[in-house]
Symmetry: C2
Subunit: 438 residues, 2 copies
């Protein structure tokens, strides 16, 4: 009961209750996730509703690059968009920190009509406010478009959106801290596996390539972003157990004795034991089993556990395909790089022999050749002529296999050229330092 | 403007505005941190204010262990307290999920008077509500004590506290996700450094012990929890660069040639190069330099960068003390464990010779002997008789040094006993598997 304070009108109070209720609802919703992609999506959806607008967008400020950026949903993935920080109405708010409330965007010269022109949308009313964090720093802008009531946005809307934007800023910053922590984890995993592989020139880059092959297969299998992220970590870590195999055996130059081969095989069990000691977050709890089962075989003849079929985690079965492919396309101490047709035939045999999953080998073979060549070549992919890469984009691994299996004079000149271009790229992979043959 | 809906009283609206405003304020504050300790502290402080109560507490439910737990500030640290989940009023709410609003706690048999008896506090009114997350699961309880107005808590208070508790639940869960991610990172660092050290029995446990010595010194220097956490990671990673040193040199049995010694020394630069590739979160950005400078010397004669004095990160100077102490108290391929008085004298020499920081050596020597013995002994510290450990709690490393420097017949029988007990523990460290001498 206000006594000394001036009594406010009933309508004022009603408006304030309505505003608080809206902000409260949005705040509760924003608390629902720390995933930045989901959060940005959620903010947009809820704010569009609450503001009774037709569309909304949120842009974050990258002060270093002086850019605004955002992520937009593209099916199951999110795509990042970026533009200079002074572009359009959003840019004006990002730069000045002032609220813009414009009844018709086309009356304002700062409005960038490009987007409307491209999409056929007609922007009318625009309300654009800065997102300010608890330290008072501007971290982004939110803009809502075309108030549904046909009236432009009013003072009340402006206040409400500012409250929402500042709350969104807090949620976004928390989510960024969380994402930063996740990024730190995976970068440590990456750096570590790279450093371990780099102990020997022959294994250098192995875990990274196996991971890229595995992710490529998983994309064919339509994994979600989250599933891909877990697979990424599991694949990078698959050989972590090699830290438990003495280098004198692991990097032996020449044929291995049976005894030594057994010692090498212990790496998979070491991977399991080491990874089992790590506290993984909830969605990563399966990583130890995913990583450690890359030498299991569908028929149960693999190691370290002799699992069969579906008892082998799917990720382990995917990594197995990438691991074999990398093993037989890399030079080893005891073996030179293999002829490529033989590589593909080995994949077929392993698949037919119930070692690796036929569906995953097929998914792998559906990949465009360009993707495989980029992984095979790693940092040296610039050495492959651009026109060859364009050629490789149009043909899958399985189509290449058909060509390789034909007699040479059964090939059209176009086909023969393709095979030759590929062989040249593949040979260069074998020894990037050999003298240029021009 | 409500038309079809029944018009509410002015006072109702006022109350609602006041409640929303309070919740909004608390929510904004809760958004301010993802650090669980800080967050719990913040919730308690803000809720005590808003509820006009004398005290509040928050307990989280550990469903696995059927316990309630909380953290309470103890100077710069936080201490965890735990009790069975059905104890007291908080336990009743945790178990049933129902709100308890009690005018005088002493009239309720469920109230546990122990705490009041111990502290002399007199609990009167108690309002205790469950914290429910967005999935509707109970994750904790919040209780507020002794409403200041002398009246007990009313219906209005009850509604407000429930809203606050549910909002707190969301913030706590986000913070737990974040902390879980941090825990995963450090557990990976720990597991990895342990696995690397375990490649050779002689270095097994080295990084872990160096880390424990460094943390012990840092506690003497009154580091905060956050500073200790960063030091913990930096110390665990100090030898990560050994992955770049061939095992044939790193684990050579016997004296090293000058050439081999130089190869071993490259590990510090490898540490820097590897760690520089990792994306560390903001508060950990200094870890690469902290880790890699553990062989620098104050006079600039160290490696890999030849830094001097304060140019060496403080953490690097702290780790240097722990590293030297562990090196000279461990057996090495080329050297047996050193006599303990000599160990202490080497620390003095290194300190006087402007290699390591005298203040940090002093801090180290102020530590109770029991702490040192526990680290030296690791998993075998149970082998040290409990009464010996109690003895070691009362004496510092520097006092031990005074005793060791005296002629044996200048020692009192008590002092002689102490020295003997320590020597026995130290010798056992040297070979834990030797036959029992009873």
């Amino acid at each position: 009961m206000p006594d000394d304070e001036q009594k406010r009108s009933y309508e004022d109070l009603e408006h304030e209750v309505a505003r608080y209720r809206a902000v409260y609802d949005v705040m509760r919703a924003l608390g629902g996730t720390l995933d930045l992609d989901e959060l940005l999506d959620l903010i947009i959806t809820r704010i569009t509703e609450v503001m009774d607008a037709d569309r909304s967008s949120l842009f974050l400020i990258d002060w270093e690059k002086k850019e605004l950026w955002s992520k937009v949903a593209q099916g199951v993935r999110f795509m990042e968009i970026r533009f200079p920080m002074d572009l359009g109405l959003a840019g004006a708010v990002a730069t000045s920190g002032e609220v813009l409330n414009i009844p018709d965007a086309y009356d304002d010269i700062r409005f960038n009509q490009d987007f409307d022109r491209k999409t056929g949308y007609r922007t009318r009313s625009v309300l654009c406010v800065p997102m300010t964090n608890k330290e008072g720093e501007r971290i982004g802008v939110i803009q809502v478009l075309n108030k549904k009531s046909e009236n432009p946005f009013d003072e009340e809307d402006q206040e409400l959106l500012c409250a929402l934007a500042n709350q969104a800023a807090v949620a976004v910053e928390n989510s960024q801290l969380y994402e930063d922590q996740k990024k730190s984890f995976i970068s440590f995993v990456e750096t570590l596996s790279t450093a371990m592989d780099a102990r020997d020139p022959i294994t250098a880059g192995h875990s990274s390539r196996v991971t890229l092959y595995s992710l490529a297969i998983a994309e064919e299998l339509e994994y979600t972003e989250k599933q891909l992220a877990v697979l990424n970590a599991a694949a990078l870590l698959h050989d972590i157990g090699k830290i438990g195999v003495p280098e004198v055996v692991l990097f032996k130059d020449g044929r291995l004795t049976d005894e030594e081969y057994k010692v090498i095989q212990t790496h998979a069990l070491h991977s399991l034991n080491i990874l089992d000691k790590i506290h993984f977050v909830r969605e990563q709890k399966e990583i130890p089993m995913m990583s450690a089962t890359h030498h299991e075989r569908l028929d149960g003849s693999g190691y370290p556990l002799g699992l069969r079929g579906d008892d082998i985690p799917e990720a382990g079965r995917v990594i197995a395909v990438g691991d074999i492919f990398d093993a037989i396309t890399s030079r080893r101490h005891y073996r030179d790089r293999m002829e490529f047709l033989k590589v593909l035939k080995i994949l077929d045999e392993e698949s037919e022999g119930s070692h690796i999953q036929p569906e995953f080998v097929n998914a792998f073979k559906q990949l465009p050749l360009s993707r495989i060549v980029k992984i095979l070549e790693e940092d040296n992919s610039e050495l492959v002529p651009e026109e060859d890469m364009l050629l490789f984009e149009k043909i899958s691994l399985s189509t290449l296999q058909v060509l390789l299996e034909k007699e040479e004079d059964a090939l059209s000149s176009e086909e023969r050229n393709l095979v030759e271009r590929f062989m040249c790229a593949y040979d260069r992979c074998e020894d990037v330092n050999r003298p240029d043959m021009d």
